[in-house]
Amino acid sequence: MDMTAIFGDYTAIAPMLILIVGALILPGIQLLSKNRTATWAVALVLVIASIAVNAMLIAEEFTGKAFDLYTYDAYTGLMVLIFQVVLFLGVLVSNASIETTRLHVGAYYALLLGATTGMMFVAGSMDLVSIFIGVELTSISSYALVSLKRKDSRAAEAAVKYVIIGGMSTALTIYGISMLYGLTGTTVINDIAAQTQLTGMNWMFAIALVSMIAGYGFKIAAVPFHMWAPDVYEGASTPVSMFLATGSKKMGLGVFFQIFLIMFVSGTACSAIAGPEVQYLFAIIAAFTMTVGNVVAIAQNNIKRMLAYSSIAQAGYILIVMAVMSEYALAGGLFHMFTHVFMKGGAFLIVGALICAGIGEKISDYRGLAKRAPFLAFAMMLFLFSLAGIPPLAGFTSKFFLFSSAIGSLDGVTSQWVWLAFIAILNSAISLYYYARVVKAMYVEKGTSTEKVSIPAPFMVAIVICVVAVIVLGVYPQIVFDLCEAAAAAMFA
């Protein structure tokens, strides 16, 4: 099907358009129908339609622009796909989760779709203004999403923290952008890159850089900007936590790629200014992020909180891309982002499903789960082991590409980032400790109850999708990795 024939000039933003439409009509549908399942179904259909459109675009290897603002290429396609999958998983289970069904579902779905739209918008933006707008669209929607879990005091507290910290991050970002704008007189990233090469390094540029790293570092939850994440993920309803941990984090990483990779590596190849310094800076941030994430995760007893720290650590791994700044690393990083959706998403989904079944969030609540819910326990084990990077699961394969990029490239071994690879690998081993704790609780320890657990069907569908993805991407990563490579190539073109 020729997408351009259908969408014309809007082809590049077609997947997004569907969601925007959805975000606008869903509250209305809810109001009119008063049936949350109907609203859910409409939302789901729209999401699937959006995915289908995007899939067609990817299959067509479509590249194009919309309004000189939004560029759709292989990179955008992949990022959009990631966000859509997250959204799909989130929407799919929302009608079944007791945490989200009592909300104002119209607003809830509108916010989910709106936040995703923001992410997708960021993915195709090459201008700081549109990136800023997109990020804020997502952020503000997420504040509301977290807070939407009404009658829940923990969610309220989480939302307060989220909005305050988020506000600070916005302020830092915009301050940095203003400096960059002052320095170069433009907000188009490619032009900024060209300009900064002319002006060279100076203090304004340094302030801009640090502010922007800090500002978007919030979204990624990179250390030391990570501290909101565990509180918010713990407090929010589980589908929302999953959405934030797997979606909004990736948007932040995408922003890093789009701004800094272009500024320092590709296009104008202006690594003359501050390239290596920034690389080292990112390497240090990456090292701290993964280490703090993993080490603190050991101390957690709440599984959502543990998963939150674990996603901080995973972001640390992906930040290796920012240190290495090579095309291969980016491909590996994108692939890890993709697999992370399924393994971390799957883990959160299981937590959410079990909450529906009346099982708490404490690791100790998971004792004896293998007897009560063999499939869920098995799936959880797969996700956790995948996160730990145990072959032959998806997490291993993606880490394989990602970590290897720190060791070398086609031109042989580059010893510069070997230390980072070592830290990453040690962290990987540390992470095994706390993942295995959950596995131990589920499989080895005896629970107080032996009653069988039944979970809602949508959850089951979503979890099965994740299980299949985690296994298939581990054993046969070819298809998706090809996409990642194309995306990386597009970025570096």
């Binding site: 305050i164 565990p230 080490v295």
Partner: protein, 681 residues
């Protein structure tokens, strides 16, 4: 035609072993008849082979046949073969080993008759042992020999420990047997490790371990003589262990915890001879260096003496015999050492003088082997007699015996013959061979070094002590008043036990005369420029007798032996002489030293405890605390770090923003530092 089947000699007992192990339980005597048949068949085959070989055309050249077993790769491959090697020494060894085994197995039918299911294990193990012994003697290379050597060690271990559980005499006895078995294995293992090290050197130097390669003078000349000397010292270490030589002799008395038949077969007649056999077999290599031979001789002499002292006051009938075995083994080693020393000296000299020395020295080999054979007969006899006694009275303590002569006529008589033989009473077999031993030691002292004169003196004293303690034992057992154990005596043992005694008694008296029929020629040692040849020498015949009875030293030994017997008679039969007068009623220092076995067991214990368990506990401590402690400490640090770091997460959102600002400052500083280091800005 028979000689091609030499491999059957060890294989037959092996098959018996398997048969006994698999189906023996269902047969009468639990497989005992298999064992006897196996030993007998081996003996017959060995006899046929020996006859064919000794009368054949190739005699005295060894008959060697081997197949390639496997290869240790290297720049020049090290080829390990599997085969047989038949010469005079082989014939002698396999004949007397299989013959005595046959007799002892027959004896076992009676002696072990009441052991029930255990007999199955017994016969399996002795058959396996016989495989080891016969395999050892027919092997064509050192490695093959070593394998059978170790198989014997295993059987020795198993048989010493035969009663190491559910001992008929109770728990203490089984604990004792278990400990004795372990000690025997470990002490000989020490020797075996040395032997193995010696084999490494030989294999490294010669690229082969085949006797035919190693005993070729051309090959010997081509290798590093220092390494060869070291190798021979190490190989002799194996001999010290296996033949219970000083200072590794202490396991043998303990080994008496096994059944008496085992003591008789393994720890007197055959296995402990393996060391002597190894020296004799390796003679071409041993004689390359006089120092080695001196060392061998001195060890032999010292062993003979030390062991004899400990037999003087022992009250256990089997232990007296055990010490006597050690002592006699010492004689054999002394003979080989002394003779070899002369040969080694002679090889270092030119012309007729050297040739004379070599000829004189080769008598050492004859003396050693001759004594080895005689000893096998009379010591097997003595042990079996003691077994007969123990079987009858149910104790090994001689103080509880006495006056048994009346109850056990055959046993007492045959044992008397054995005692006379070992004491060196004229015309008994021990007399001939012991005199040859003393003579060669004397000669080595005369033509070689004064050390051998010292050894000769020790050997003479040993001869006296031997006569004394053997008759002390005999008198205490069979003469005098009846001890309380004697009162429970069942009378004479069954025929299956007395028959072998009689046969052996005949041999214990008469085997000495075999030397008249050319036995010396069979194990003579000849050095020619292209070969070292065992056997085929000139038979001395009556010349030996003439020589012995014209030597004044012969009469000295006869007198000493008679004096020894006389003192024993006065002390233990007539009781006119009080032994207490000599040892201050057991209070003298010397007496205590002897009962403490010269403190050797204590020494062993100390060394093994300190070097083994002491170090092990240290290692274990390091392992748990330091090596594992590091691992656990590291993981503990990570977990603890996680706990500590998680406390930073205070839940207060403004702390978070403070940390953010702090982070930004740190990042800025880092950025500047990195930029400075890298030369930016």
């Amino acid at each position: 035609m028979f000689i091609e089947y030499t491999w059957l000699v060890p294989l037959v007992p092996m098959i018996c072993f398997l048969l006994i192990g698999l189906i023996g339980r269902k047969t009468p005597e639990k497989g005992g008849y298999f064992a006897i048949a196996g030993a007998l068949i081996s003996f017959v085959i060995a006899a046929l082979i020996s006859y064919e070989y000794l009368t054949g055309d190739t005699y005295p050249n060894p008959v060697v046949e081997s197949i390639q077993w496997f290869v240790i790769p290297g720049s020049t491959d090290f080829v390990i073969n599997l085969g047989y090697y038949v010469d005079g020494l082989t014939c002698l060894m396999m004949l007397f080993a299989s013959f005595i085994s046959t007799l002892i197995f027959i004896y076992s039918i009676g002696y072990m008759g009441d052991q029930g299911e255990r007999k199955n294990r017994y016969y399996a193990e002795v058959s396996l042992f016989l495989t080891g012994m016969l395999g050892l003697v027919v092997s064509s290379n050192f490695l093959e020999m070593f394998i059978f050597w170790e198989v014997m060690g295993l059987c020795s271990y198993l048989l010493i420990g035969f009663w190491s559980f559910r001992h008929p005499e109770g728990d203490a006895a089984s604990a004792n047997a278990a400990s004795a078995a372990k000690k025997a294995f470990l002490v000989t293992r020490l020797g075996d490790v040395c032997l193995m090290a010696g084999l490494f050197i030989l294999l490294g130097e010669f690229h082969s371990l085949d006797y035919s390669t190693l005993f070729d003078p051309a090959n010997i000349a081509a290798v590093d003589s220092d390494m060869l000397t070291l190798a021979m010292f190490l190989i002799f270490g194996g001999v010290i262990g296996k033949s219970a030589q000083f200072p590794l002799h202490d396991w043998l008395p303990d080994a008496m915890a096994g059944p008496t038949t085992v003591s008789s077969l393994i720890h007197a007649a055959t296995m402990v001879k393996a060391g002597v056999y190894l020296v004799a077999r390796g003679y071409p290599l041993f004689i390359q260096n006089a120092e080695v031979m001196l060392f061998v001789g001195v060890i032999g002499g010292v062993t003979a003496f030390i062991a004899a002292t400990m037999a003087l006051n022992n009250m256990n009938i089997k232990k007296v015999l055990a010490y006597s075995t050690i002592s006699q083994l010492g004689y054999m080693i002394l003979a080989l050492g002394a003779g070899g020393y002369l040969v080694a000296l002679g090889m270092g000299m030119e012309g007729a003088e050297g040739a004379a020395l070599i000829t004189a020295g080769s008598a050492g080999m004859v003396a050693g082997c001759f004594h080895m054979m005689n000893h096998a007969f009379f010591k097997a006899l003595l042990f079996m007699c003691s077994g007969s006694v123990i079987h009858a009275v149910g104790t090994e303590d001689m103080r509880e015996m006495g006056g048994l002569g009346k109850h056990m006529k055959i046993t007492s008589l045959t044992m008397l013959i054995g005692s006379l033989s070992i004491a060196g009473f004229p015309f008994f077999s021990g007399f001939w061979s012991k005199d040859l031993v003393l003579e060669i030691a004397m000669e080595a002292g005369h033509d070689g070094t004064v050390w051998f004169t010292v050894m000769w003196i020790l050997a003479i004293i040993t001869a006296f002590m031997t006569a004394f303690y053997m008759f002390r034992m005999w008198f205490m057992t069979f003469m005098g008043e009846e001890g309380h154990a004697t009162q429970h005596c069942h009378g004479e043992s069954p025929k299956t036990m007395t028959f072998p005694l009689i046969v052996l008694a005949v041999l214990a008296f008469g085997s000495g005369f075999l030397i008249l029929f050319g036995l010396d020629a069979m194990v003579s040692f000849t050095v020619t420029p292209d070969a070292f040849i065992v056997g085929g020498g000139e038979a001395g015949g009556f010349h030996h007798f003439e020589h012995i009875f014209t030597s004044p030293y012969t009469y000295l030994t006869i007198v000493l032996a008679l004096v020894g017997i006389g003192i024993a008679y006065l002390m233990y039969a007539k009781k006119t002489m009080n032994p207490g007068a000599f040892n201050k009623d057991g209070e003298s220092w010397l007496y205590k030293a002897l009962t403490k076995r010269w403190w050797f067991p204590d020494l062993y214990n100390q060394i093994s405890w300190k070097l083994g368990y002491g170090v092990a506990r240290g290692v274990n401590f390091i392992d748990r605390q330091i090596v594992d402690g590091t691992v656990n400490g590291l993981s503990g640090a990570v977990v603890g770090g996680g706990d500590a770091l998680s406390k930073v997460q205070s839940g207060h959102v403004q702390d978070y923003s403070s940390i953010v600002l702090l982070g930004i400052s740190v990042i800025s500083v880092l950025f500047i530092v990195i930029a400075k280091v890298m030369g930016g800005i």
